[in-house]
């Protein structure tokens, strides 16, 4: 099993979430091109010091492609339909910054630290339990889906009709899922999840220097970018 320890170089999930929301503003209000590059480089640097060297390089390359490729004038001559396809580029470019920050958040935080940081900022259990269950359930969902497909293949059920296909896959999947939901809640009840005391967690979330550096750098860049572009 692979997980990341609570090390000093990895900001905690609260900080990462704050940065994602902050960069969400850049999707709507454009910021200066230089500041966009600065944000991308900061995120890559964060990947790098956490040991994700490949992701650091990929991040810069992707942004480079999105930044330079749509920029040739030959595009205007293409028919409108291809332009429609290409406009996906513009869309990706628009939401690249929040997307990159979100990807960084998902790649570098493990489930335990996300759950204990939800505890730390006192999110009510009505929200934190469903989120924790989502992490728990996602792998078994994929597994169940594959075994249903396998069962269909074994019995030779093949249909190209999407409506029929949906019924064949969705109905067993929903039945299995709602049974799993019952099982999970039984397991959780036996571990005293309803006990109204403070819970102890395997992973503790602390605020390190890196949290301040990450949050403040991004805030300054975004604020600067918005001011410079006006």
């Amino acid at each position: 099993m692979y997980y990341i320890k609570d090390n000093r170089l990895n900001p905690n999930p609260i900080t990462k979430f704050f940065v994602v929301v902050l960069l969400g503003f850049t999707g709507v209000h454009s910021i200066n091109h230089y500041s966009e590059w600065a944000v991308v480089i900061v995120i890559s640097a964060m990947y790098f010091i956490n040991g994700f060297k490949k992701d650091a390089i990929k991040n810069i390359l992707w942004f480079g492609v999105l930044f330079f490729v749509p920029d040739f004038s030959a595009l205007e001559k293409f028919p409108i339909f291809i332009l429609m396809m290409l406009s996906l580029f513009a869309l990706c470019r628009m939401f690249y910054l929040p997307f990159a920050a979100g990807k960084f958040m998902i790649k570098t935080s493990d489930v335990g630290s996300i759950i204990s940081s939800m505890d730390a900022i006192k999110i009510p259990k009505e929200v934190s339990i469903p989120i924790a269950v989502m992490f728990r359930f996602f792998p078994s969902f994929v597994e169940e889906k594959n075994s249903i497909k396998m069962a269909m293949r074994i019995r030779g059920i093949e249909t190209k009709n999407p409506v029929k296909y949906l019924e064949y896959v969705a109905v067993p999947l929903l039945i299995i899922s709602s049974n799993i939901a019952d099982d999970i809640s039984k397991a959780a009840e036996t571990k005293c999840i309803a006990n109204p005391i403070k819970k102890t967690r395997y992973v503790s979330v602390r605020i390190h220097l890196i949290d301040f550096i990450y949050a403040v750098t991004i805030s300054v860049i975004v604020a600067g970018g918005i001011i410079c572009s006006h």
Binding site: M85, F99, I131, V133, F137, S185
Partner: protein, 193 residues
Amino acid sequence: MKEKKLKIKDLVTIGVFAVIYFVVTFAVGMIGVIPILFLIYPTILGIVSGTVVMLFMAKVQKPWALFIFGMLSPLIMLVGGHTYVILLHAFAVMIIAELIRRIGHYNSFKYNMLSFAIFNTWICGSLMQMLWAREKYIELSMMMGKEYVDILIKLITYQHMALVYLGAIIGGLIGANIGRILLKKHFIKAGIV
């Protein structure tokens, strides 16, 4: 009627169904590769996801369940690179859907169906954010040529958004009815509901 509170079992059910709903949303979202199909995306999503949400509503007939369920997908999308617009939009939509469900005491099919139709419009938030970010989008599309931008400006308007909302509601109604048929055909027989 006595007010019922959400228990752990219901919260777990919310989490499990949120995963299924999110996977369905994501799978249907693949048609967005051709951007123009985005406009009918809410309708298709409503038809496909109707069964999931109707089963969820049949299983958890308690206040605020639908609200929490509905807020989880926008939260994931926020992390996946959408803006805060989608969260605020979903918040407003979910409050309305929750209130409609409350009128029907959480177990009447008619009100659950209406509630789902409203619920289904949350996905329009991802288009609304394009509308609000219109200037930036057009600025970025400038290199695609003037002709293209002209078509875009004509296409992205509030009137067309109203049509998309209408499509979402109609899709929701169709999806809810498909859900009801499937519920009767399979789930009640299997003792799930």
